[in-house]
């Protein structure tokens, strides 16, 4: 199975990544692409700063991806997570899940996002429009609950 995991500062190209998964294949019937974007929080935010743990980020996302592959009949999986300073409207994370049928692709992508939120070693800090450095974003209980539903 085609599996791509990348941690990078640069923007990504979702269409090109999708093409890499599907090109020349006749067995893929469904691709779910999740893109996470930086919100401006009602105009308050100048940027998000994403810190990560190099080495562990790749390893942990690899373990999450392996779990997804063991739970669903996937034909391709791509996870790209950016770090560094990201402005509102810019993309933070891309998850692609390809399968013969839609249900597996939807569930795997949703599973991956829940686990990325709560298990991947990334931390977000707000930079505000007024020039000050805001707070570290707090982990949400809702994300923990979302992760727990996968058992």
């Amino acid at each position: 199975m085609a599996r791509t995991i990348r941690i990078q500062a640069e923007p990504f190209d979702a269409a090109a990544e999708t093409g890499l998964l599907t090109k020349g294949r006749g067995d893929i019937g469904a691709v779910v692409a999740f893109t996470g974007l930086c919100r401006d929080e009602d105009g308050r935010l100048a940027a998000l700063e994403l810190e990560h743990y190099p080495g562990m980020a790749e390893a942990e996302i690899g373990r999450i991806a392996a779990q997804a592959e063991s739970r669903w009949p996937l034909l391709g999986l791509t996870v790209i997570h950016r770090f560094g300073r990201i402005a509102p409207g810019e993309e933070i994370v891309l998850v692609l899940a390809a399968s013969a049928h839609r249900q597996a692709a939807f569930e795997a992508a949703s599973f991956l996002m829940d686990y990325l939120k709560t298990r991947a070693p990334f931390w977000k800090r707000e930079h505000l429009k007024d020039g000050t450095v805001g707070a570290w974003v707090e982990a949400k209980e809702a994300d923990d609950r979302a992760t727990q539903r996968w058992g």
Binding site: Y53, A59, M113, T118, P121, W123, W136, V137, A139
Partner: protein, 83 residues
């Protein structure tokens, strides 16, 4: 043994990483946290609520009762907010 810190744990301790010689009898992550807290206020501040700070041994999430025997790198950080 190398210890690395991230996000506000790093900021409170005032460094991103350090090499430490852990004394005998420090067998688990929880032991290590207790010992680090004995080293100064910045550590007490970082670990003031031990239940919140997460740990990883050699790039794998672990619980406080996990052994640190043979570990090359131990990390402490707040709950993750990726994705």
């Amino acid at each position: 043994m190398k210890i690395v810190y991230f996000a506000w744990v790093r900021e409170r301790i005032g460094k991103a990483e350090e090499q430490v010689d852990v004394p005998d009898g420090i067998g688990t992550v929880a032991d290590l946290v207790r010992w680090l807290k004995s080293r100064g206020e910045e550590y007490q501040y970082a670990f003031e609520n031990e239940g919140i700070v997460r740990a990883a041994v050699d790039h794998t999430h672990v619980k406080p009762e996990a052994s640190i025997a043979g570990a090359r790198e131990i990390a402490f950080f707040p709950p993750m907010t990726g994705g």
